[in-house]
Symmetry: C2
Subunit: 214 residues, 2 copies
């Protein structure tokens, strides 16, 4: 992908900071030192400072961070202070559960269209959105701004749909299909390979069992 | 968690090797050199050799890897050549989509019980499994071997359920709740924080847009 001047590992930590700050806000905490935040999150205080310094840093020596301010700043950095226009490819179980995960809306994510190829699903509503025919996807993309497309269909179809998305200017794909999509460098893909995290867990279960019987 | 002598980053790559080998098998490929595999996966050949050397290595100089053998060996390493007994906490949309994701069965994962607190859901079947009352969870755990518990309920309840699981000997949790569970060091947790991967994508969308307008 195009150069984004923040290491990927920092990018993946930002949402976690955001979540912890949200929890602190829920608890009514107004300010937090980097050492308190570090203990809570299980990362070092210097890590936190380094990560935030990519964006200018937000702490004051001897005072720490103002929770609501930092929360808001991270929202801005993440681009979730505005609206992200999302479309969903696949109205199956996973697609439906993503559509119903209303939490996203609070964080500036708005699912605006859902596509499927199944005649049984087309025309029926999922979370107040009428499912469209996947054949109408190119036309939709030509007339709507789409920030992120979520793909929740089997891998063979996912590869083809990704080509349509890229050809029509979509620059970000949230991929749940069980394959790595090949996209040009200016398109970002976040993969959620569910079975792979389950396999990693299986590995740990097995290793632990092996140790016990050793 | 207890010491597992394989770096976590290697563990997370194993399922990806497994997936690529599966694709090669589907294509009828019988053997693959580490450089071919590396090109396909977008990692270096030396990375692949190093990763596999944690488990003894499986290549032959000048011959490469036998695809079916390596696939089978990685399945064994991951512990998915046998059966993993799974229970599911939460019969909501996400829980249902996990239960229906039958692919798991192929990879040695067997969902054996589903728990929920909603009277509307209790007693009704999800994928041929009758949903049980969450109050029966401790009793179930005392009489069944559970390898992995998947949690797909809101965070406040997730924290309480995790305590019940840990107290009753469950050593691996697949966590979809929007919080980091605090567990003893001998319990493994794999988090799938969906909204966090979406936020990382949002960040990249925003950064790219910023660059375009610069």
């Amino acid at each position: 992908m195009d150069e984004i001047n923040v290491p990927n590992v920092v990018i993946t930590r930002l949402p976690r900071y955001y979540r912890y700050l949200e929890e602190l806000m829920d608890e009514g905490v107004e300010r937090v030192s980097s050492s308190e935040l570090s203990e809570r999150m299980g990362v070092t205080a210097s890590q936190i400072r380094q990560d935030l310094n990519h964006f200018g840093g937000f702490g004051q020596q001897g005072y720490g961070y103002r929770v609501d301010f930092l929360h808001q700043e991270i929202a801005r950095i993440l681009g979730i202070d505005g609206v992200n226009h999302i479309i969903l490819i696949g109205a199956g179980n996973l697609g439906q559960s993503l559509a119903k995960y209303t939490n996203y809306r609070k964080r500036g994510f708005l699912i605006e269209a859902i596509f499927d190829k199944d005649p049984e699903k087309i025309g029926k509503p999922v979370q107040q959105i009428r499912v469209s025919d996947i054949r109408d996807l190119p036309g939709y993309l030509k007339t709507h701004d789409v920030d992120i497309a979520a793909i929740t269909i089997p891998k063979e179809e996912a590869v083809k749909v990704a080509e349509v998305l890229v050809k029509n200017g979509v620059k970000a794909i949230w991929n749940f299909a069980h394959t790595d999509l090949k996209v040009p460098p200016d398109v970002s893909v976040e993969n959620v390979h569910l079975s792979e995290s389950l396999m990693a867990l299986s590995f740990k279960v097995k290793e632990r069992r092996k140790k016990e019987t050793e």
